[in-house]
């Protein structure tokens, strides 16, 4: 009997221990990003690191162009992916049961499994020359190319979450709307989608997080110029690509500290988006 209780205690201790480790991982990563970028805050030189210039030889470590680049590329990707993703979800629900709709569902799931580097690799040889030749401006490595491919990356996230949330709308509402003479499309647009608006927001925010957090597509397709893009055909660098490009070994150096600032910005954004979602999900109608 005693033995049994002992066993229970041990197994419980193991569970608690592993949970403490995994559960605190996010916090650990945050603390370490914060710890290494802390000198930037305390020395009052934060302004220098948020300036528009990145030129380590000249002692300029501004990451503002990268913040702007990330914002441009991710938001353009979302402008494309959000409506397309929601439209795909609505389409799949509207024609649920049809062969094409089922194919589409498989296809979107398949899309979510395509490695990002494969997307980037293909787009490098098709999309970049296409953009270059179509617009006859710039190298084709630009905000537009990266955003288009990022949109493809994000569409499955948006449409699969939206579709799940549409399906969670109680059947009663669908039947009620149907019995009142609403067509399937009307039911979807007037009842199901409005009822699932929190789900749509979740889908878009999570998709946006994916677009902002992806490294390889922007790295391969955006051209990585350190300047604030002024047109969609301009080359730009994202925060993530910047971290990948500035390979350094010395975490005391200023360029490495600037990298931690980039990491911190990315981390804070993902944290706030999660908190934002929690708040939205808790909102009443």
């Amino acid at each position: 009997m005693m033995d049994c209780r002992r066993k229970a205690q041990i197994s419980r201790a193991i569970l608690v221990l592993s949970t403490v480790v995994t559960g605190s991982m996010a916090l650990v990563i945050f603390l370490f990003l914060f710890r290494f970028s802390l000198p930037l805050f305390s020395s009052g030189s934060l302004g220098k690191f948020l300036s528009k210039n990145w030129d380590p030889d000249a002692g300029a470590f501004g990451v503002y162009p990268m913040i702007a680049g990330s914002a441009c590329i991710a938001s353009l990707a979302m402008v494309l992916a959000a409506p397309l993703g929601v439209a795909l979800a609505v389409f799949m629900e509207l024609y649920a049961g049809s062969r094409f709709s089922r194919f589409l569902r498989y296809f979107v799931e398949l899309m979510s499994g395509i490695p990002t580097v494969v997307y980037g690799f293909s787009a490098l040889f098709i999309l970049v020359p296409l953009v270059r030749n179509t617009f006859r401006y710039g190298s084709g490595f630009c905000v537009l190319s990266a955003s288009l491919v990022l949109a493809l990356l994000v569409i499955p996230t948006v449409s699969l979450i939206t579709m799940d949330r549409i399906r969670e709308v109680p059947r009663d509402f669908v039947l009620a709307a149907g019995s009142l003479g609403a067509s399937r499309l009307e039911t979807l647009l007037r009842v199901q989608l409005p009822y699932a608006w929190r789900g749509v927001i979740s889908a878009v925010v999570l998709g946006g997080g994916r677009a902002l957090g992806d490294t390889i597509i922007a790295l391969m397709l955006a051209g990585n110029a350190v300047s604030v893009p002024s047109s969609l055909l301009d080359s730009a660098r994202t925060l993530t690509a910047h971290i990948a490009l500035v390979s350094a070994a010395d975490y005391e150096s200023l360029s490495f500290k600037a990298i931690f600032l980039c990491g911190l910005v990315l981390f804070l954004f993902s944290m706030f988006s999660i908190v934002f979602l929690r708040v939205v999900e808790r909102l009443k109608e």
Binding site: T19, T22, I29, F107, G113, F121, L266, S270
Partner: protein
């Protein structure tokens, strides 16, 4: 609704439903068109006899075999770290944590899941440098560091699927075990876990796919363009996604570029198989649950 409006909406929906797959299809078709003719034993092993390469008798310099082996090893290791930690944490969150603790843990895992992989890579890199400076000069960015960082990347997925699978076990089934005098632990082990092992497994496979395709984490933590097959945890290594990225930016000649296409297809096949298997498993699990309840 107005007929015109309805028609417009339907046309837009159809256009979306056709254009998006076409666009993706175009990218994939291009890849297959260029890459399929390259797929051969030569792509994998170069001029070395496959058997010799597989038995590690001879080193492969001109094939993607070392990259495949590196990906396999780093993913295997990361899954080995992540499964026990993730499943145990998932069990704790689902069965034992209550109220505020559960809420905090849930948020923490959601945040971890949304942290960009390059940030996790940065964490791994700094950890490696820190260990190198302060613990042992023998530690570099390497297979061990990479696999640990990848494990952090996939941990939240495993925790969440474990948690959700356990919570989806119906109350009557739970009570059935308990009412027969089983302890909570006993019930968990012999009733609940077997019941949701399929769900957990499909989550683990999806996470494996995630680890196999990620480039950003390994890029900062020890992958290189040519290293051969790693012979210890402290070796640098090659990996397929990084190889593809590397070739894309600096192929020396057309043959090397073709190898890049071939490698992309191989990676696509690997992740595709993992995802397909996970979905199949999910479906089987769903059918089983529907069938019993």
């Amino acid at each position: 609704m107005n007929r015109v409006v309805v028609l417009t909406i339907k046309v837009l929906l159809w256009v979306t439903a056709v254009v998006v797959p076409c666009f993706v299809g175009m990218l994939l078709f291009f890849l297959l068109d260029k890459g399929l003719p390259v797929i051969s034993l030569k792509l994998l092993f170069g001029d070395v006899a496959p058997v010799k390469a597989l038995l590690l008798r001879e080193r492969v310099f001109d094939g993607i075999f070392p990259a495949m082996a590196g990906t396999f090893l780093v993913v295997l290791l990361s899954v080995m770290w992540a499964i026990p930690m993730g499943v145990l944490s998932g069990i704790y969150v689902a069965e034992f944590a209550g109220g505020t603790v559960k809420k905090i843990l849930d948020i923490s895992f959601d945040v971890l899941a949304s942290v960009p992989s390059i940030v996790i890579g940065l964490f791994g890199l700094t950890l490696a440098i820190f260990l190198h400076k302060n613990i042992s000069h023998r530690i570099y960015p390497c297979l061990l560091i990479s696999s640990a960082a990848l494990a952090i990347l996939i941990l939240p997925y495993i925790v969440r699927t474990t948690e959700l699978s356990i919570e989806s076990v119906s109350l009557p089934l739970r009570l059935a075990g308990l009412s027969l005098g089983a302890t909570k632990q006993r019930n968990l082990l012999s009733v609940i876990l077997p019941r949701c092992s399929g769900g957990i497994l499909s989550g683990v496979i999806l996470a494996t796919g995630r680890a196999a395709e990620d480039t950003a984490v390994i890029m900062l933590t020890g992958v290189v363009a040519s290293a051969g097959i790693p012979h210890s945890l402290f070796s640098r290594f090659e990996a397929l996604p990084f190889y593809i990225y590397y070739i894309s930016s600096q192929y020396a000649d057309q043959y090397e570029l073709k190898k890049g296409f071939g490698a992309a297809i191989v990676l696509l096949i690997i992740t595709g198989m993992l995802f397909g298997f996970a979905h199949l498993l999910k479906k089987l699990v769903a059918r089983k649950i529907n069938g019993f309840d």
